[in-house]
Symmetry: C2
Subunit: 166 residues, 2 copies
């Protein structure tokens, strides 16, 4: 097997802002529209100019530092909406080698340095690392699938996303 | 304006593998199917188990460290496929506050610790930080848009993605 030429990364992650959510003690595994409350991204003032023209996009990617994830990361995990054991990289578990979270969120409005969004699946005060535009042309893969998620699991997950009590 | 409660991040990024592409001196701004050559992700042996069931997905997200990006990052940038100046966070520029790249790539096949993929827009030997499954249910946003990209720009970008000589 190939792959022994390891590269060292010498870089200190720098928060560019902070996520505001109603989740203090428990956060849902995926965005849950049952949750009431404001979801906001606050961008630090020095980066405000970087938001120019962002409001023209309907969706954005947010990358954030999972500062409350566990320091242990088994390489096989049990997703909350499944009975399957799957590999860490085939899962969205927050306990990762590099604890970086990724979500697609909808922009509701932007006021100065505050982005009001659809529900985010992150704890309150999670440090934000990056925002990238979700570009229909590049990021919508019509022929994508749901991998190991089985029909029943997909329906269950869908109920969470749509906020249907079950 | 809100936002003065800065959090320090004390974490050292750790490569979990490496990207193999034909790009040594120049890399395209977006995946370019005109390029001939192998595109492979090599996962370090100790993380092999984390790939379990990944092959059931058609697409994955890869997060990688942009180790050849510029250390300067103007907050307004000029995308290669546009005449518009846009904010850094409304762009996919590689020169970012936290130089983390994100791409959606197609899995062609997985053999042991090697993932053969569709074209990636990254330099050869780029350190890989994470793989997450691209899940149709969560990540396909049918109502997404192309933001500030104008019609002509979209067509131009599309030609690159489809590998049409122009």
């Amino acid at each position: 097997m190939e792959g022994n030429d390891k590269i060292k990364i010498n870089f200190k992650l720098k928060p560019i802002g902070i996520l505001k959510t109603p989740y203090e003690k428990k956060a849902p595994p995926q965005p849950d529209s049952k949750t009431n409350g404001d979801f906001r991204i606050i961008i630090y003032h020095e980066y405000l100019e970087g938001l120019y023209k962002l409001e023209e996009f309907k969706y954005i990617y947010i990358l954030y530092f999972l500062n409350r994830s566990k320091k242990e990361f088994p390489l096989k995990v049990n997703p909350p909406w499944s009975d399957n054991k799957v590999g860490l990289f085939a899962s969205r578990s927050p306990n990762r080698i590099n604890p970086i979270g990724l979500s697609v969120v909808e922009i509701l409005k932007i006021e100065k340095n505050i982005i009001y969004t659809s529900p985010m699946d992150a704890f309150n005060n999670t440090p934000l690392l990056d925002i990238k535009p979700y570009i229909k042309l590049l990021d919508v893969k019509e022929d994508a699938n749901n991998g190991w998620l089985e029909k029943g699991e997909i329906e269950h997950l869908m109920m969470h996303i749509k906020g249907i009590v079950h």
